[in-house]
Symmetry: C2
DNA sequence: AAAATATGTGACCAAGTGGTTACAAACTTA
DNA sequence: TAAGTTTGTAACCACTTGGTCACATATTTT
C-alpha cells in the first residue's frame, strides 16, 4: 500500500470542506469526514488535532469574503463606492457556500471548537463594515440590510420562498440589491 | 403510584417547550424531553405521536407572534401605523424566545417532522408582512431590515457583539429601531 | 541489512440516538 | 369481586457519536 501523508491530509481537508458546504455544520463530524475521505479517523486527530484543528486550518486558509476584501483595499470615499461595495458583498455572499455555512454555524453554537474559526471570520467581516462606519446614521440601517441579506440567503437553502418573495429567482435578489442602493441614496440626500 | 394522563401530557409538552426555548432546536430530542419530564419516552409516542406530534401541537397552540397579530387586526393605513407596527414586531421578537428558536430552526432543516410547524408559523409571518406590501418600493427594504433584525437577534444568543455593535445593550436595539423608522420615513417623502 | 520512524487500519470503548417491546400497576367497567 | 382497559416503566434493539488503542505495513535512517 502506498503511503502519502500530504495526499491524505488533502483528502481529509477536502472532505471536510465539501461536507460543510453541502450539508452544513450539523453534518460535520469526525466519523462523517473520515468516511467521506475513505480514511481512518485516527488520522484526523493525528494530523489535524481533531475537528478543532480542521476549523483552525479553515480559518487560516479559508477563502471566504475573498472578493470583498479585494475591494476593501480600494479607497471608498464616495456614495457610489459604498453602493458598489454593497453590491459586491451581496454577490459574494450568495455565491460562496462556505461563507454561508460559517455564518449559519455562528447561529448555532460558540464554543472551544469553533472559537478560532469564528474569531477569524468575524475579523474579516469587521474590516468590511468599517467602511460604512463613517456615517453613523446610515450605519445601523446598512447593518440591518446586510444582516437581512444574510438571513434570506441562509433561509433559501431550505425554503423556496419567504412570504411572497421567491428566494429562487434572480429577480428577487436584484430587488433586494436595489432596495439597499436606494436606501443608501436616501440617507445621503 | 398516581396516574394522570392529562398531567403527564402537560409535563411532556412543557419540558419540550422549555428545552426548545433554553437550548434550541438541536437539544430537542425524544430522550432529552422524556428525561426532563421524568417520564418514559414511550408516552411521548403514545400521547403525541413522537416529536412530529409535539411540533404539531406547538403549531396549533403556539403563542408566537402574539402581540403582532393583535396589532394586525387594526387598520394600518398611515405611515405612523407602519412604524408602530414595526416597533411592536421587533419588541415581540426580542422578548419571545420560542419565536426565536422556531426561526432559528428554519435555518437548519425542513423535513417531514418540522413541516407542519413551519407551515403554520410562516402563515402567521405572512399575515404581518401583507401590511407593508402596499408600497412595493419600500417592501423589499422593509423585509431586509426585519430580516436583519431577526438575524441579529438569533446571533445575540451566542455572540456578545457584531463588529462594533454591542448586542447586549438596549441602546443598540434602539438604534436599530430608529434606523427602521427613519428608513420608512425616507421612503415616504 | 537492521533498526527506527512514519503512516495507516480496524477493533474497541462508553455514551447517546430514536424507536419498540414486554410487562406491571392502577383505574374502570362489568 | 373479577375482567378489561388505561397508564406507566424499564429493558432492549440496532445504530451512531467522539475518542483511543494495539497492531501492521511502508518508508527512512543508521
Amino acid at each position: 500500500m502506498k503511503k502519502d501523508r500530504a495526499a491524505t491530509e488533502d483528502k481529509i481537508y477536502e472532505s471536510f470542506l465539501s461536507l460543510l458546504e453541502e450539508k452544513g455544520p450539523q453534518a460535520v463530524g469526525i466519523n462523517a469526514i473520515a468516511k467521506k475521505a475513505g480514511v481512518s479517523k485516527e488520522l484526523i486527530y493525528r494530523y489535524f488535532g481533531g475537528l478543532q484543528g480542521l476549523l483552525l486550518q479553515l480559518a487560516k486558509k479559508g477563502d471566504f469574503f475573498k472578493s470583498m476584501l479585494a475591494l476593501h483595499d480600494k479607497d471608498l470615499a464616495t456614495v457610489e463606492d459604498l453602493k458598489e461595495f454593497a453590491k459586491a458583498g451581496t454577490q459574494e455572499l450568495r455565491e460562496n457556500k462556505l461563507t454561508q455555512e460559517i455564518l449559519r454555524w455562528q447561529l448555532l453554537e460558540n464554543n472551544e471548537v469553533t472559537r478560532d474559526l469564528f474569531k477569524y471570520s468575524n475579523k474579516e467581516i469587521g474590516k468590511m463594515f468599517a467602511i460604512s462606519d463613517k456615517d453613523s446614521s446610515l450605519n445601523h440601517a446598512f447593518q440591518l440590510m446586510i444582516g437581512g441579506y444574510v438571513y434570506f440567503t441562509l433561509l433559501s437553502k431550505f425554503n423556496k420562498k419567504f412570504i411572497t418573495t421567491d428566494l429562487t429567482s434572480k429577480e428577487s435578489w436584484d430587488n433586494f440589491d436595489k432596495a439597499i442602493e436606494k436606501t443608501i441614496d436616501l440617507f445621503n440626500k
